[in-house]
């Protein structure tokens, strides 16, 4: 069995922080849902070793931050190297790359290609071919409401409810009184 380099073993003060860094990195890598579960700890340990080396240069920084920044930097380099992403900002590189990884059948079937370099030409072409179309090209139409004449009720409602006029009120009272008496007379005659 190969011996382990004791210089790479963290001091007990850092133990908790490096454990946290490992856990965080493992969760992050697991979220890629790789088909081969053993690939996650392999990758995690590899990236953790890199982070420890980096941490020795900047010991004041938190191990979690160093580890995760390094992992994301490695992913950005790997995605950028395999996708044609000239002129794209980092967020575009990540979103295009992750989508390519998600949608590629080959990449999903061979999970050890994550962060592997160089990629097979076939796989690289497949990643570059991924394009997400949420909607076809716009073909703009103008849809605006037409004028609608609401008829006599509009005037009646507006005049009645928005403006009080003594003459109109009197006419209304007279009209309905007349209707009432006609109705009353009719009922009295009928019955």
């Amino acid at each position: 069995m190969a011996s382990i380099d004791s210089s790479s073993i963290p001091q007990s003060d850092d133990q908790a922080a490096w454990n946290e860094a490992y856990d965080r990195l493992r969760h992050f890598l697991e979220s890629f849902a790789l088909g081969d579960h053993t690939q996650v700890p392999r990758l995690a340990l590899h990236l953790l070793e890199e982070a420890r080396a980096l941490h020795r240069q900047e010991p004041a920084r938190d191990p979690v931050t160093v580890t995760m920044e390094n992992a994301q930097k490695r992913l950005a380099e790997w995605l950028g190297g395999n996708l044609e992403v000239d002129g794209k900002n980092p967020s575009q590189v990540f979103s295009s790359g992750y989508l390519a990884f998600l949608l590629s059948k080959h990449l999903r079937a061979t999970p050890d290609v994550l962060l592997a370099s160089p990629l097979l030409a076939e796989l690289r072409a497949e990643m570059r071919g991924t394009l997400l179309v949420t909607g076809p090209d716009l073909n703009i139409s103008s849809m605006t409401p037409r004028h609608l004449d609401y008829g006599p009720m509009l005037g009646l409602a507006r005049n009645t409810w928005h403006r009080w006029n003594v003459r109109e009120i009197l006419v209304a009272v007279l009209f309905w009184t007349g209707v009432y008496f006609v109705f009353y007379w009719w009922l009295s005659e009928l019955l």
Partner: protein, 694 residues
């Protein structure tokens, strides 16, 4: 009215329908007045006499529609109907045209919507005509979890069905004007690419063959602007939903058939499960602003009826294809959810008052608007009628007591009154009998002859019990609408989760109190005359129990096992409905939107979709957005309000920045909930259900 219909046919049908309804109403009024002969008239009687024609005319119209429908069924259908014209003989030769299937969603159950689209896609594939159809999932969801799940479900659908470039997803940043605004947004953006659109609801399902048939019908009849199918309610598990399904399946068709016979080419549009000719819809059917103040809401809430009227006004026909099948929807699972929906519909229908008198609206559309208005206005009228009738009975009784007159004067003349009562019962229940009779030849598809009869009997008893409950609520809704309270487009609950008894007591308990008090007062003042009011008071008193019992899924499933309230779609489930019931759905659980910040895949999908419409400006984020980012990290996702969550998700650079920070910051500098979300990220339900499988 369509030029393709003979004038004489239109004239005869309208004369028969309007004349029949009017004659019945006049007959009822005359009988009522004759009942008052030789009687003392009290003030309350004037209210009774004034309100009676309004109520009785509604019963008469319903009766005439059922009679028309039954007659049409007996003679084998309307030969002038657009779906019975000569083009049907060679329908396979009618070419198809580009058609969009538009599915507007608003915080709906995403897995159910996705499964529905998948089923329709597969059904269309079987027809061999799928190249003519594209799907548009148009989201107005205001809930961040729903939005993120919709995006993942869309990608999953495209992957699973190899449908990239055929199924599209659109999320509106501002949900202006609810569903009609959502559909109008589709029309403005992509309407020109298609000749037709089939508008669905989130719970709508149509078979591929029906969609192909509708498209052919539109191609063969260029004068048709809207062709509405008759969606049948299905997939119910709760007793209430199964009750509605049964009612719709047994009685729905003769009413639709009757409406179609009376209205012909100025038929109804119900806002979904219909095909629309897009060009005239864009040109003529954008909804006008209502002539009311801003505070009362100037947007038309129930858009469908108005759109049908505007289409007709523009010279296009609107038909109801009531007999084609292959068109389904889901109903509300319980009484409370139905009332929630009715509250919205009531406000919408009352707005239609303005269109009743607008110039250029067709007579058939005015009839539709009137029926819609009276569907809710009849409730306060009925309540006022009952109160006036009771007061009149009390006054009559008191008058007899004080004047020591003959006892036969304490009620109206019995011959006329009993005749009127009998006629009313006939008008109310004969349509049900006709509907039932029309279904008897297919009794086996409803569980068998005796089960069908027994189910119809139980359904009638429950309708009698629920009618007074609906009357009171509808009266409240009418008052709310008239007082100008704002009604918003809310998500319809489609899950059969049941109601707690405490909820039922809280929501319906006041009706029980009202019923008990009313019954006591009526008994005290009216004595035996109060028996007439017993069905009303019983409905109110039992309202909490009725709501609670009917919401039960266990009871619904039990009755299904016994073959009661069965419908054909339960006896033989069509392939398009498989996997859609509540039991089949694997709903994503927990808070989902944080995965758009954590999961590399979910984040990539989200940022790719948002970026397509809003390329990052590269500007620095505003101070308020910076503060929001930090608050989200320090206080966790639960601390943000819904609008703040949406603001975060709409900004691609913020999502990316948060993704980096949430993974890189030490646990001590993150809110404790983030650790949980990080560890859950690899087994998130979004990943399991949509992206990488279980």
């Amino acid at each position: 009215m369509s030029a393709s219909l003979p004038e004489s046919v239109i004239a005869i049908r309208r004369t028969l329908f309007v004349g029949g309804s009017a004659l019945l109403t006049i007959g009822g009024v005359v009988l009522l007045l004759r009942g008052y002969a030789d009687q003392q008239i009290f003030p309350a009687d004037y209210f009774v006499i004034a309100l009676f024609p309004l109520l009785f005319s509604q019963i008469a119209i319903g009766f005439m529609l059922a009679l028309f429908g039954f007659f049409d069924g007996l003679r084998g259908g309307d030969p002038h109907h657009v779906m019975r014209r000569p083009w049907r003989k060679n329908e396979a030769s009618v070419p198809l045209a580009a058609t969009a299937i538009v599915v507007p969603v608003f915080n709906e159950e995403v897995s159910r919507v996705a499964q529905g689209i998948e089923n329709m896609w597969r059904s269309l594939e079987k027809t061999g005509q799928i190249e003519h159809f594209d799907f548009y999932l148009c989201s107005d969801s205001s809930d961040a979890d729903h939005w993120i799940e919709e995006e993942c479900a869309w990608l999953h659908l495209c992957q699973k069905l190899n449908a990239f470039g055929k199924i599209f997803y659109r999320k509106r940043r501002h949900s202006i004007n609810g569903k009609s605004g959502n559909v109008a947004d589709f029309c403005r953006r992509w309407g020109k690419r298609y000749r037709y659109m089939i508008v669905l609801d989130a719970d709508s399902i149509m078979t591929g063959s029906t969609m192909v048939l509708l498209t052919r019908a539109m191609e063969a009849n260029p004068e048709v602007g809207i062709l509405q199918t008759q969606p049948v309610q299905v997939l119910g598990q709760s007793f209430f939903r199964r009750l509605l399904q049964f009612t719709g399946s047994v009685y729905g068709k003769i009413f639709s058939q009757g409406c179609s016979l009376a209205q012909m080419s100025s038929g109804a549009y119900w806002g979904h499960n219909a095909i629309i000719r897009i060009a005239p819809f864009i040109e003529f059917c954008d909804l006008p602003i209502l002539p009311v103040s801003e505070s009362r809401g100037r947007h038309v809430l129930s858009h469908d009826t108005v759109e049908a009227a505007l289409m007709q006004k523009a010279g296009y026909d609107v038909w109801v294809a009531y007999d084609e099948g292959g068109s389904w929807e889901e109903g509300p699972p319980n009484l409370s959810d139905m009332l929630k929906r009715d509250r919205r519909w009531c406000a919408g229908n009352l707005q239609h008052f303005w269109f009743l008198f607008a110039r250029g609206i067709g007579a058939g559309n005015r009839l539709q608007i009137w029926i819609g208005l009276m569907a809710y206005l009849s409730s306060p009228i009925w309540l006022a009628f009952l109160v006036a009738g009771s007061v009149s009975a009390f006054e009559r009784k008191r008058f007899i007591t004080f004047s020591a007159g003959p006892e036969d004067l304490d009620s109206l003349r019995p011959t006329e009154t009993m005749l009127l009562f009998g006629i009313t019962l006939v008008l109310l229940f004969l349509p049900r009998l006709l509907g039932l009779a029309s279904r008897l030849p297919q009794a086996r598809r409803f569980g068998g002859f005796f089960r069908l009869l027994f189910s119809a009997f139980l359904e009638t008893a429950l309708s009698i019990l629920m009618a007074p409950v609906l009357m009171l609520f509808h009266t409240l809704f009418v008052l709310q609408a008239l007082l100008g309270w704002q009604i918003r487009w809310t998500t319809q609950n489609r899950s059969d989760t049941g109601l707690s008894f405490s909820h039922c007591v809280a929501l319906y308990g006041w009706q029980s109190c009202l019923g008990l008090i009313g019954q006591s007062v009526a008994w005290y003042y009216l004595d035996t005359s109060s028996y007439w009011l017993l069905p009303i008071f019983a409905g109110w008193i039992l309202a909490p129990v009725t709501a609670w019992v009917t919401a039960s899924s266990a009871l619904g499933k039990g009755l299904q096992k016994w073959g009661l309230f069965a419908i054909p779609e339960e006896m033989q489930v069509p392939p398009e409905l498989e996997g859609l019931s509540g039991d089949d759905q694997a709903a994503a659980a927990g808070s989902l939107w944080p995965q758009a910040l954590l999961s590399p895949y979910v984040q990539a999908i989200h940022t790719s979709m948002v970026r397509q419409r809003s390329a990052g400006s590269g500007d620095k984020p505003s101070p308020s957005l910076v503060a929001l980012r930090e608050r989200l990290i320090a206080e966790g996702p639960a601390a943000l309000k819904p609008k703040e969550k949406m603001r975060v998700l709409w900004d691609v650079e913020t999502v990316f920045w948060l993704h980096r920070e949430l993974w890189s910051r030490p646990t001590a500098r993150l809110h404790e909930s983030w650790s949980r979300f990080q560890s859950e990220s690899p087994k998130s339900s979004l990943l399991r259900n949509y992206l990488v499988g279980k």
